[in-house]
């Protein structure tokens, strides 16, 4: 009886050695929930890109002429601004990991500034288009252009608001060098907005 008990204890000990029940460190940046949101948004943009490709093959002349009448300077400037804002967000993450909360918030303010400049340039671009007589009704190219870019415009708007929210949370001490998942969630979401724009830019402004 005794020997049976001791053998059970031995096997139980060796079992616990073989399997490590401690929670493993996640290799997903941020939470899984934000990645569901990001993949859903990327799918939404993918549908828009499919519409773009289909409209292009059916209307090659309109899609050849369309980009020539758009403001390439505004499109390029906004691409540079979006990439820079993403860079600022990466630097903010690096700063918080280094326990430099003030610096992290400053980098994020830089990203918010980029978001606001983006929105101003886009609004100017829409006005400039209107003065050239380019509206959603002009032809299918501009219909696709307005639908896709306005959708992205909204993302930059609420993304900027999200950045301000995480700055507030940094300043109130909620995020620390070790606990800042919310900030990572916002960062990867902002990068998704950037990814959408770097795809939109060549499709609508560059490729004919």
């Amino acid at each position: 009886m005794n020997s049976l008990t001791s053998s059970t204890i031995v096997s139980s000990k060796s079992f616990s050695k073989e399997i490590d029940f401690t929670p493993k460190k996640s290799n997903i940046p941020g939470s899984i929930a934000i990645w569901f949101a990001i993949l859903a948004e990327m799918s939404e943009f993918a549908i828009m890109f499919i519409v773009y490709f289909l409209a292009k093959v059916h209307n090659p002349e309109l899609f050849y002429e369309g980009p020539t009448r758009l403001n390439t300077l505004a499109g390029t400037t906004n691409t540079l601004i979006m990439l820079t804002s993403s860079f600022f967000v990466v630097r903010a993450i690096m700063a918080i990991r280094d326990n430099k909360r003030k610096q992290s918030a400053n980098w994020l303010w830089g990203a918010v500034g980029c978001g606001i400049i983006y929105l101003i340039i886009k609004a100017f671009e829409y006005q400039w288009n209107a003065s050239q007589g380019l509206t959603t009704e002009t032809n299918i190219f501009y219909g696709v252009y307005y639908y896709v870019t306005f959708n992205h415009f909204l993302h930059v708007g609420w993304g900027s608001a999200g950045l301000i929210w995480v700055i507030y949370r940094i300043n109130t001490g909620i995020y620390t060098s070790t606990e800042h998942e919310g900030l990572i969630n916002m960062a990867v979401y902002w990068h998704m907005i950037d990814l959408a724009w770097i795809t939109i830019f060549p499709l609508l402004y560059v490729i004919r």
Partner: protein
């Protein structure tokens, strides 16, 4: 090779270099837009530029380079498919139009 060299540098330096690379690639795209060429090689270059920019952001800015394989693959594949679509649509526009006509 270039990536291996970059890995040897500090994380901040690496991110700074990648940001400058993204800026240069964007300016190159703008130059191509102004040239307005429609030859296959320029379309292919634009597709490759998009693929590179997407990969840099996914791997380094989103930090997915060593992340969960499913997530990493889903995000990376996006920037294989869209550039490939650009090339396919350029090469086979008429056939695709025929197949998708009602």
């Amino acid at each position: 090779m270039i990536e291996k060299r970059l890995v040897l540098t500090s994380p901040i330096r690496l991110i700074n270099i990648l940001w400058i690379m993204l800026i240069i690639l964007t300016l190159f795209s703008a130059y191509m837009a102004e040239r307005g060429t429609t030859e296959f090689y320029s379309i292919a270059i634009m597709a490759v530029v998009l693929a590179i920019k997407g990969r840099i952001i996914v791997d380094h800015f989103m930090e997915l380079k060593n992340a969960h394989i499913v997530l990493r693959t889903l995000m990376r594949v996006y920037f294989y498919i869209i550039p490939m679509m650009i090339i396919i649509v350029y090469l086979f526009a008429e056939q695709i139009a025929k197949w998708t006509s009602l």
